[in-house]
Amino acid sequence: MDLSYTAEEQAFRDEVCDWLAKRLPKRLSTKVRKAQRLTKADYDEWHSLLAERGWMAWHWPVEHGGTGWTPVGKHIFEEEMIAAGAPRIVPFGVNMLGPVLIRYGTQAQKDTYLPRILSGADWWAQGYSEPGAGSDLASLKTRAVRDGDYYIVNGQKTWTTMAHFANRIFCLVRTDPDAPKRQQGISFLLIDLGSPGIEIRPIYTLEGEHDVNEVFFTDVRVPVENLVGDENDGWTVAKYLLNYERTGIAGVAYSKQALAGLKRVAAIERKDGRALAEDPYFAARMARLEIDLMAMEIFNLRVVAAAGEGKLPGAESSLLKIKGTQVHQEATDLMRRAVGPYAAPDLPEAFDEGWNGEAPGPDYALPLARSYFNMRKASIYGGSNEIQRNIVAKHLLGL
């Protein structure tokens, strides 16, 4: 057993840090560190820098333009990227649809869509969840009826992240409502968001931001060529997608950044004449968080290392998801508490680039309540923590 990184892995980390220092625009990392709103143009700029270096498609085989990185390599890259304040890569096209098309797509679909994902010509959204189908995704109702060379799609998707930036959406739709098992009547369709009959409406989340949407489909005509995989075999395709989220799901890198930020703030904030970090109660909570994060990081690395040997995680990814989201939520909670009453003021305008106003308290206090409220979703999305505990109970504990 050797938990240290190899010489090659260390050299790769150095190469990544070096490139980030040279090519990550300061304007973007400043925006990320200040929790300012990233525009579509910001994401496009970052994606094109990564694509230019050939570092955009982590989960694609090399022959399709992928990086060829090992799971440990991906882990290292993500860690350094987040530490440097880079925007996240928007995952729907490059991390989700890309591998799906490579595995299940026709040659025509690969030739058409893969280059457009890499170049940024297409921005994809994920049409999965519906008002009645979140945790129980297989109960989805959006209907696709075959009509000659088209499917006619009717229904609604919800919680669609960044659909307002996207020009295309991949959807799970019901093509056979009479299948014996619900999973057996689902198909995977690629839909152009410019099609007649599509309406996108914003959903404002608890902190007042617009990241997610409802997408309504009314008699939308989708060419049959846009079916990925076989009709009624969409569930297989959807499950394949999940493999690519399993090792990154703990969000360890984000939590490490949050903890570092928390320590900085706790050193500055005063309580009863001394630094908040020296208040015994607060110090104990920070220590608990740091201990949990360290334990989770090692567990995450164990899963990553096993993936590198070809052992894809099973129910371990549920443990990572549960603990990872708890740690991240605790970090945002402590950050909010650290600034006391200064967490209360909300200035939405302060999160636009170029804002020149004055915060009522310290600048670092401005985004903390928003981050806390935004992170409430983490224990719900990606398979709620309740569902994940059921998986752990069944597959790890044998209950």
Partner: protein, 147 residues
């Protein structure tokens, strides 16, 4: 142990709840909260006309309530309607010291919905420690100088 309300208090509760239900729908509440001031002066006066602010003040300052039970009734009704007018700031926090010194004139204006109070007690470094007070007031010939 008796948690029941007297008839008089039950009437107050019903009146207040009905008023808020009818005059303070959630859409209007959002409008008031989103305004520059963050509440509605017109609504504050309507609440005053209803006697809701007076219900928070004791008879010693010409109010007609001011007990724990009165305050509880008013605030439960306000909570139900998510009311944003400054009952806490003006009716409780700002009013308390004025009740102690018997400033009937100022409190009369508050009860009439013509004046809004704010109690400035927090300081940047104080966090939630009420006895952390660095602000100084010195008395001079022309009155008090506050720094």
């Amino acid at each position: 142990m008796d948690f029941n309300l007297s008839d008089e208090r039950r009437m107050l509760k019903d009146t207040v709840e009905r008023f808020i239900r009818e005059r303070y729908p959630i859409e209007k509440r959002h409008q008031f909260a989103a305004s520059d001031v963050g509440f509605s002066h017109e609504m504050w006066r309507e609440f005053a006309d209803l006697g809701l602010i007076g219900a928070l003040m004791p008879p010693s300052v010409d109010g007609f309530g001011g007990t724990g039970e009165d305050i509880l009734l008013v605030f439960e009704a306000l909570g139900r309607g998510l009311v944003v007018e400054p009952f806490l700031a003006s009716g409780i926090l700002g009013a308390s010291p004025l009740i102690d010194i018997g400033d009937v004139a100022t409190l009369g204006e508050v009860m009439a919905g013509e004046r809004v109070l704010a109690l400035a007690h927090g300081e940047p470094d104080g966090r939630y420690n009420l006895s952390h007070v660095r602000t100084r007031a010195t008395q001079g010939a022309e009155g008090w100088q506050v720094t």
